[in-house]
């Protein structure tokens, strides 16, 4: 485990402002092509949900082993925009306008992932190409799913009857087709109710495992420290061993879900574990 940056390293880039999106050119290690700072401390809060979504989508880490399109967690949005009610309402109106879709994840009681509709359709394309190669199943049902079900059903869950009805607008539906959809990773049965399904993002299993392990690792790292806190700047530069996502992703998520909180200090933001 690498040591956190010691005194001289933390002072080297001295122009760290607190919580405002700062466009100053400086030379910390993580800048993008235009030289704008991408560190979490600079770009902590945004004014608008859509802006926050777009920027976080652009900052989604590239994972080599699985091909998954960028998604954003709801808790990340809560930590990035001040007013949570505004976030909820804007998400709802964007969802109704079919700009994005919300999926319920199984990594916790209230976890939701937000994905732009274009990314989701792109992901389905990849799945159908992969399944066509196998030639075992009838892949037309994926097309029906895309055309009929996704465009009309905007909720994160769907009932069995309604699913069959919507799919039958494309052709004759058999139980094998639903099995195909579940195998492709587009639907999951609900545990509490056997006739309801959740919509899911395909190929996301390992990413979700990395998500929950990364959360635990970050929380245990901070809990092992003497005062259960650390400055944000050096914390952000650490890598998590068990998660393919970067530290910034996890920090936003944990701050938004209330497990960590930030405090302003004269030398920058401080991240602390919430004790209650």
């Amino acid at each position: 485990m690498e040591n956190p940056a010691s005194g001289p390293g933390a002072w080297s880039s001295s122009s760290r402002k607190r919580r405002e999106r700062d466009e100053q050119e400086e030379t910390p290690p993580d800048t993008d092509a235009t030289g704008h700072s991408l560190s979490l401390e600079e770009n902590f809060t945004f004014s608008d949900t859509l802006v926050a979504l777009r920027i976080m989508r652009a900052q989604f880490p590239r994972i080599d082993k699985v091909s998954v399109r960028p998604f954003i967690l709801r808790s990340q949005l809560y930590s990035s925009v001040d007013d949570r009610t505004q976030v909820d309402r804007e998400l709802e109106s964007l969802r109704r306008e079919k700009v994005l879709r919300i999926f319920k994840l199984n990594t916790g009681q209230d976890d939701h992932a937000i994905m732009f509709v274009d990314d989701y359709l792109n992901q389905i394309e990849r799945i159908s190409k992969r399944m066509e190669g196998k030639k075992q199943y009838d892949v037309a049902v994926l097309e029906w799913f895309k055309i009929h079900v996704i465009s009309s059903k905007l909720d994160p869950s769907i009932g069995h009857e309604e699913l069959c009805t919507l799919l039958s607008m494309g052709g004759k539906v058999k139980d094998d087709h639903i099995t195909l959809l579940i195998n492709a990773g587009l639907l999951t049965r609900q545990l509490i109710d056997p006739t309801m399904y959740w919509f899911t993002i395909p190929n996301i299993g390992s990413v979700l495992k990395g998500l929950s392990q990364g959360r635990k690792e970050l929380l245990s790292f901070l809990n092992r420290r003497k005062y259960k806190e650390m400055m944000l700047a050096p914390l952000e530069r650490k890598c998590l061993r068990l998660s393919p996502m970067d530290m910034r992703f996890h920090l936003r998520d944990l701050i938004g879900s209330g497990h960590l909180k930030t405090a302003k200090t004269p030398s920058g933001l401080l991240v602390r574990v919430v004790k209650e």
Binding site: Y78, D83, R84, T85, V87, D88, R89, E92, S93, R96, Q109, D110, S152, K153, D155, P156, G159, E161, E162, C164, T165, L166, S168, I192, D193, T195, M196, S257, G258, H259, V274, E276
Partner: protein
């Protein structure tokens, strides 16, 4: 405050506005009281608190050690610390030694809403007892098939004296004090019912929240529930949108078109829900529902169709319900650690986000609202948080208990909030400004 008094004197401020400003400023400055203390007579955790509705003077508390105690919160019994701290001891305590007392924990203790001559307690020993306060004897008792989680009586009722009981059993029972028997059984929930509330705008409407996560509205004059709240039905503001039938109708037409193609009972349930949704949008709760029937032959009794509706209001169990005084909004707390604000007229979730991290999941919670419904007090683990109802921001965090809090009560007359802790409380905390 002096400025307000000056304005009132000169006539710039009207009396009602003056009252409400004083009340809200007092509520906004609540702190742990250092001059008033209530000495708890319970030896276990306290599960339920209520100040009587008629005078605001007597506090009834029910504990997990099967004891019930009544305190006078306006007149203290003795003073300590050189007259600076007023202590309130209990007027009487009923515990397990009483011949008709409860055997297990008491989950809910409420006053009879008309006067303080009677009170009702519900306990985990499956009994609901009605006690006479002056003689501390049991006047009547009801046996329910499961542990009683919550009991409620309507404060508006003029023509009935029904106690609504939410138990571990899936049916909600209405017990009648006048006849001593069960009057109704309301079925529709698929798991135990953790919270029951009567509507503040109609004496016939009951709201129940179950461990299956559903919130149902029942009109007790008819069979079946007339509305189930669905968390995915949401509206973007405080009031239902004016001419926006498109959002409601889009949801209901997609469901009814799905229903048109299959003939199962479930689809009829969906269509019935859509019809009910539109019906309740146009009529207020007090009036008779518009009987919009589906075009299919009803195979089930119309009141039971709603039992097919599986919409959930929360992802976990619903552990607390509170209706605002004007009967227009409902706050619900769920074991998914979310608090939601519902607009009752349209049946939609108003998407106000309350910043709660964790709520206890096994016991029912008691929420409390200030009189003008601007602040809601929620016990969140070891603190009580006061949230602004319309924006969801945390206004106050009241810390003072050593253990988890179960219930809290806002006394509207004195703007005091009382809260009760879990295990081994030695004294109850009283918060005032």
């Amino acid at each position: 405050m002096w400025k307000e008094i000056g304005k009132r004197e000169s006539g710039e401020l009207r009396p009602s506005l003056f009252c409400s400003r004083i009340r809200s400023s007092r509520a906004a400055s609540l702190q742990l009281s250092n001059h008033k203390e209530i000495v708890s007579a319970h030896r276990g955790s306290v599960n339920s608190l209520q100040v009587d509705l008629t005078e605001g003077r007597y506090l009834l508390s029910g504990g997990a050690d099967a004891s019930v105690a009544v305190y006078d919160i306006q007149n203290s019994t003795h003073c300590e610390e050189r007259g600076l701290v007023a202590k309130h001891k209990s007027i009487f305590v009923i515990d397990k030694q009483h011949e008709h007392g409860h055997k297990y924990a008491i989950s809910s203790a409420i006053w009879y809403p008309i006067d303080t001559g009677l009170f009702v307690t519900g306990s985990y020993d499956h009994y609901i007892n009605v006690w006479d306060t002056n003689t501390t004897q049991v006047v009547m008792n009801f046996k329910t098939p499961g542990k009683v989680y919550r009991t409620a009586m309507s404060s508006l009722a003029t023509s009935h004296m029904l106690i609504a009981a939410g138990t571990e059993d899936v049916q909600v029972r209405l017990c009648d004090i006048a006849s001593g028997a069960f009057a109704h059984t309301l079925s529709g929930h698929r798991d135990g019912v953790m919270s029951v509330e009567w509507s503040t705008s109609s004496e016939w409407v009951l709201l129940t929240g179950g461990s299956d996560g559903a919130i149902r509205f029942w009109d007790i004059r008819r069979a079946g529930c007339f509305s189930v709240l669905d968390q995915s039905n949401s509206q973007l503001g405080r009031r239902p949108p004016f001419l926006d039938h498109s959002a409601m109708n889009k949801a209901s037409t997609s469901k009814s078109s799905a229903a048109g193609q299959s003939s199962s009972v479930k689809a009829r349930g969906l269509q019935r829900k859509a019809a009910n949704g539109n019906g309740s949008k146009q009529s207020t709760i007090g009036r008779v529902r518009s009987q919009v029937k589906g075009s299919m032959k009803p195979r089930l009794h119309p009141g039971l169709l709603s039992s097919q509706d599986r919409a959930t209001a929360h992802y976990g169990a619903v552990i607390g319900l509170k209706m605002t005084g004007d009967g227009m909004y409902l706050l619900s707390a769920g074991s998914d650690s979310r608090l939601r604000l519902w607009d009752i007229e349209s049946g939609c979730n108003t998407l106000v986000n309350f910043e709660t991290v964790r709520l206890q999941t096994t016991k029912p919670l008691q929420l409390s609202l200030t009189q003008d419904s601007a602040l809601v007090f929620v016990p969140c683990m070891a603190t009580a948080k006061a949230f602004d109802v319309w924006s969801g921001k945390t206004r106050l965090t009241l810390r003072g208990h050593y253990e988890n809090m179960n219930c809290c009560w806002f006394n509207a007359q004195d703007q005091d909030a009382l809260s009760r802790k879990g295990q081994a409380a030695l004294d109850e905390d009283n918060w005032s400004d």
